[in-house]
Amino acid sequence: MDQLIISGRSFNSRLMVGTGKFSSNQAMVASMEASGCEIVTVALRRVDIDNPADSMLAHIDRNRYLLLPNTSGARDAEEAVRLARLSRAAGCEPWVKLEVTPDPYYLLPDPIETLKAAEILVKEGFIVLPYINADPVLAKHLQEAGTATVMPLGAPIGTNKGVRTREQIAIIIEQAIVPVVVDAGLGAPSHAAEAMEMGADAVLVNTALAVARDPGAMGAAFRKGVEAGREAYLAGLGEQRQQAEASSPLTGFLRD
């Protein structure tokens, strides 16, 4: 069985789902269920004391889904570490999607603060899944620090543009000693399939599901896209390289 293994834990699904931006808890749950995902991300925010909302967590079966709290909102390492510690204190397993995004326009991850936070959190026993730009050298630093995966973006969050960082992601996959999860920017099942065909170990999708007309149906579609991409990768894809022009014969000197 082709399983995804992160930090020694096995998963059948290679599609992770983000729970943000859905129009309702019902839509969120429908999408999660149809996607077949086993890992869902959540965020941490201050409670509105005057108006405590229905906790979305009540709608997520903790026996079925592994909660992956993210540190979105953190603008530096210190804030990210604090959020991770808070989620652990709230009773979550020590898994954290490390997301440090000081840039509020594109929500691009800060490489320096991410590495700083990762080093601290790994030492504190967290299973760290860092969200990064598709920077191969940063990915190596994080793996050296002991993160459980690396999560390079395909395109900026919410843009649905697909795997725009293809060349760098290919390098990251080639050099990785941990699973590579393509996260952010995947707008269609074909994008997810593309990432999987390249050899990514998993993908994380949020916006494309949340803004679909039918989030449940879209969840099912993404599930198929991820599975198709993975199966194609395992089956051995054919022509990838562009043909180049030949130079003059190089092996003529060999005599049988």
Binding site: G18, T19, G20, K21, F22, M28, T41, V42, A43, L44, R45, R46, V47, D48, I49, D50, P52, S55, M56, L57, A58, L67, P69, N70, S72, R82, R85, L86, S87, A89, A90, G91, I157, A184, L204, N206, T207
Partner: protein
């Protein structure tokens, strides 16, 4: 007693953190709390006493990518 919760001043009757969360109608299994800038483990909510002018951050899980 007077507390500052999530930046807001509030008069409460609760004496422990667990009681406060009940008073605020929050599910204790789904929140994280910082008391005077120190994180409190959820297992300690019942035994953590509150004092006048304590500052609290009460955090919950919400949707996120």
């Amino acid at each position: 007693m007077q507390l500052v919760i999530n930046g807001q001043s509030r008069e409460v009757s609760a004496e422990s953190l667990a009681e406060l969360l009940v008073e605020l109608q929050l599910d204790t299994s789904h929140v994280a709390v910082e008391l005077n800038q120190a994180i409190v483990e959820s297992s300690q909510f019942a035994t953590t006493a509150l004092n006048e002018n304590d500052r609290l951050e009460v955090i919950q899980f919400v949707g996120g990518g």
